[in-house]
Every structure is written in C-alpha cells, then in structure tokens.
C-alpha cells in the first residue's frame, strides 16, 4: 500500500496526474505523456520514494481508445519496500505516431524493455540510445502485439521448400512410417516384412 506515493506525486506535479486508483492492492497513477520523464525521475531520486528498480515496462493496445496505447511501468523500492504502477497514454488511433519520452537514462532495465515495447507495439521512445527490434528480426514489417496484427500472419525469412503438399508431408498417414506394436530389431535382414502384433 503506497497511497502516500500517489499523494506525493499529485502534490509535486499537479497537472500531471489524470487518474489514480488502488484496485487489487496495486497503486496506479495515470500520467500526462508530457510529464512522463519528470515524474519518473522524481520517483527515482526523491528519498521518500527511492524507486531503485524499474521492474517492468510494457505497453497495452486499446484500439477503441484515443490515445490508443498505454505504456505501463512498474517501479519498486527495495529500501522502502513500496511499489507503484505508472501509466501514460500515447498514440493516435491508427498507430502512426506513437511517441513518448524514454526513461532508459534513469534505469538500465528500461533499455531493453523499451526496445521490446517498440518491437511489439511500435511505441517510439524519444531519446532511447538504440531503438531497434529485439525479439523479432529487422526485416519484419508491422508490430505483432497490436490488436490489428493477425496472429498467424507469417513473414518467412527464407522461402519454404518446394515440395508439393508441404502441409501434409509423410509420414503422417495411418499406413506410413513406423507401425504400432512391439518393434523388433531387424538388423541384418534386408526385407523388413516382419509383422508383429
């Protein structure tokens, strides 16, 4: 329970907090995108907050909302023991311009986490030293975790083999391949015609 954190931030940054709640025991702050970096820095540096660790940074896609994406960060203080979730909403409904400040200068863990959010959602983190794809390959087009990306749309890097009926290659038919039943070693016998069971 870190209600005092919510109060601290609301006092220090009066225009920044859009909404806050503590559902399911998690204290959450929804912030303006413009104050994202400042609030994060405050939470790290202020001795009453002392968030030494950025536990996780991710994004969520709400295609019916404007702004469409939510960048969600979980912070944790090991010395004081409290946690908080801060969120900000970014992006236009088409997903063309999705930008938010990068907090990778504050915590090293944000570096790869922001790369992953970029890779999966297309959220551009302004000020990130090396924003490129991390889980998908550089030739991949699109952002897979967006709701409008179909889950089974593949973009193969190399062409599949030219085999007819590649979907049903042998030996998946019932008469193909190894039989059911107790196998016996047929070493030394050229014609494998033993029927067993």
């Amino acid at each position: 329970m870190a209600k005092h954190l919510i109060d601290l931030v609301t006092q220090k940054f009066p225009g920044a907090v859009i909404q806050s709640h503590s559902n399911h025991g998690d204290d959450t702050l929804v912030l303006e995108a413009a104050s994202w970096h400042d609030v994060a820095q405050f939470l790290r540096d202020d001795p009453r907050c002392a968030m030494q660790m950025l536990v996780d940074l991710t994004a969520v896609d709400y295609p019916d909302r404007d702004p469409r994406f939510e960048v969600v960060v979980h912070l944790h203080s090991l010395t004081l023991g409290h946690r908080i979730r801060i969120k900000t909403r970014v992006g236009d409904p088409d997903g063309e311009v999705v930008r938010v400040a990068s907090i990778s200068d504050l915590w090293g863990s944000a570096n790869w986490a922001e790369r992953e959010a970029y890779d999966m959602f297309g959220v551009e983190f302004v000020g990130h030293p090396d924003l490129r794809r991390i889980l998908m390959y550089p030739e991949f087009v699109g952002y897979p975790l967006r709701k409008d990306y179909p889950a089974d749309k593949i973009q193969p890097l190399i062409a599949y083999r030219e085999v007819e009926n590649i979907e049903k290659l042998p030996p998946f038919g019932k008469d193909e391949g190894m039989s059911f039943g107790r196998q016996t070693h047929s070493y030394g016998q050229r014609s494998n015609e033993q029927e067993s069971n």
């Binding site: 889950a151 190399i158 107790r182």
Partner: protein, 195 residues
C-alpha cells in the same frame, strides 16, 4: 527399433545390385554409420531439457553409438533439431543443414520441430520439414526419453536398410485398441484391422 509396415517395401540397394562383396561392403558401411552417428544438437527450447535427460546416464543414447556431440556441422552426421524453430532461427538452421556433409540425417525432436506444436503464430515455423528435409519425427511435448531412443533406433534401422523415407515415432502400443482399457469402440471396422 523401427519396423516398416509396407509389405511391398522397395529395397534400396546402395550398391545397385552389384554382387556379394560389394553388398556386404555396403552393409558394413551402413552398420558402421548407424552405430557411430555424430550428432549436432541444434538445441533451442524446452526439448533441450529432455535432450539433456536422454544424454544422461539413465537413458543414455551413447549406448547406441551416438555418443559424441560435434558442434561443427562439418563433423557431424545427424542433425538433432531440438525445440521450436522460429522464423528468425530458420535461416540459421538451413545454413547448418547445408554445411553438413553427405551422408546426413535429420531428427526432429519434439512436436515443435515436427509440426510447429501449438504455436500457430507469426513467429514459428510449422515444422522443420518446411525448411530442411527430415528423416525422423519424434513427437511429444517434450517426448519421453524412451520415444527419443525409439526414434534413434528407427533411424538406425533405416540407415541399415538404406531407406530415406521419413518416419514418425508412434507409441509402442495404441491405447485405443487395447481391450482392457474399457473404451467403447465406436468404429467397428477399424478395431479388427489392428492399425
């Protein structure tokens, strides 16, 4: 221990019907090949844990001659593709396969390597046979070590007989046909054919 069901199996005679000495030599060569398969363990995912278990003293595939892992494709005969192959990993798998020298065989360890598993998505290759020809498929998620050993023995049989057709490791015993299981046999004709 694999046994092929077809009664009209084409015996592929590597020597082309040459004669006694050469067929015996071919047999000897096949015997040597099958009992000294140098493997290239292309391990990616969870099946790698079962691979470690199969290599450990309890199940031990080195009893079958497949003792030495060689991490260079030039020095290996059998490519074990263990685990899921993603689209990103596919070119690498293709390249490793191409770098191996003939004769070479491929064993797809696990359901992901055989047919993609339950990953029907943008990032998984639905079976390595889309990329490289595969000789033995060992299904299972992960397969039991005994199934893997079955696959290895099946491959050894195939090497001995010179058969290059792919095969799948099936359960030793089909539980559906087992009368003692008490299952209701809904299909009358299949039950008697013993498939």
């Amino acid at each position: 221990m694999g046994e092929l069901k077809e009664t009209n199996t084409q015996i592929i005679d590597p020597s082309g019907g040459q004669g006694f000495a050469t067929t015996k030599a071919a047999d000897l060569l096949a015997w040597a090949q099958k009992y000294s398969l140098f493997m290239y363990p292309f391990v990616t995912a969870c099946c790698g844990m079962e691979f470690m278990a199969v290599s450990s003293p309890r199940y031990d595939f080195s009893r079958f001659g497949s003792e030495a892992p060689r991490f260079s494709p030039r020095q290996s005969d059998l490519l074990w593709v263990v685990g899921t192959i993603t689209q990103r990993q596919a070119p690498i798998l293709r390249r490793i396969y191409e770098q191996m020298a003939e004769p070479k065989w491929v064993l797809a360890f696990g359901t992901c390597a055989s047919c993609g598993g339950f990953y029907d998505n943008y990032t998984t290759v639905a079976g390595i046979d889309k990329i490289i020809p595969c000789d033995i498929y060992v299904p299972g998620c992960p397969p039991r070590p005994e199934a893997v050993l079955d696959g290895l023995m099946l491959l050894q049989d195939k090497i001995q007989s010179g058969d290059r057709r792919p095969a799948t490791v099936k359960p030793r015993h089909d539980p559906v046909q087992d009368q003692s299981m008490g299952l209701v046999q809904l299909r009358r004709s299949r039950a008697s054919s013993g498939v």
